[in-house]
Symmetry: C2
Amino acid sequence: MVTSVDSDVLKALSDPLRMQIVRLLAREALCTTHLVEETGARQTNLSNHLKALRDAGLVDTEPCGRFTYYSLRPEAVEALAGELAKLAATAREAAGRKRSC
Amino acid sequence: MVTSVDSDVLKALSDPLRMQIVRLLAREALCTTHLVEETGARQTNLSNHLKALRDAGLVDTEPCGRFTYYSLRPEAVEALAGELAKLAATAREAAGRKRSC
DNA sequence: GTAACGTATCACTCCATGGTGACGTCAGTC
DNA sequence: GACTGACGTCACCATGGAGTGATACGTTAC
């Protein structure tokens, strides 16, 4: 498929809390403790969501002593943005086309 | 919030069947019958998903006799793509920044 | 008029997923 | 060594959402 638009990434981003995490990580790398402060969510809950983001390839982890730094992977977000832009372009040039019933 | 990245739109796109519908509609306007043929899903099921896409502002409807044509709204997809690109850009320029523990 | 067709809505079941507490593990401090 | 704090994993429960059949509504054909 040409425009495969990774469904896993979209799913990972479709949760409001995960989206909030991604927005925070876009500004600077943070460790779980910071995210607990910023979001008000429980550590366990965050750990689950961070695992989901990791599995989707959206964030990188970097252990630092007993802390773990999380950072956003710009290329993953860019890839998704590109796919969507391509989809929109396709829709624009197909505007008006309709299959007859 | 600057990068508000509409969570509803992401949620609407995060379902594989809905993503498939969007991809089909990007190429040409289709009515439910066509989508039933293309996807193999039940009419009721499709109607539900189309409602979700309508509510998210991703598709337009155009009644045509007893048929209803659905078409993708490029601007909705473009808006999302733009937000994500902006997010990726923020992440790129913040690369290396980390909050100390 | 009635029949047939395309589509939307409702009520329901079932499954996936989010949130939580208990617990385990690893690193640093004493 | 023991203790504490930072994270991750597991098992459980509750909720949301997907899929479905029955049904209602509007339009076209007869």
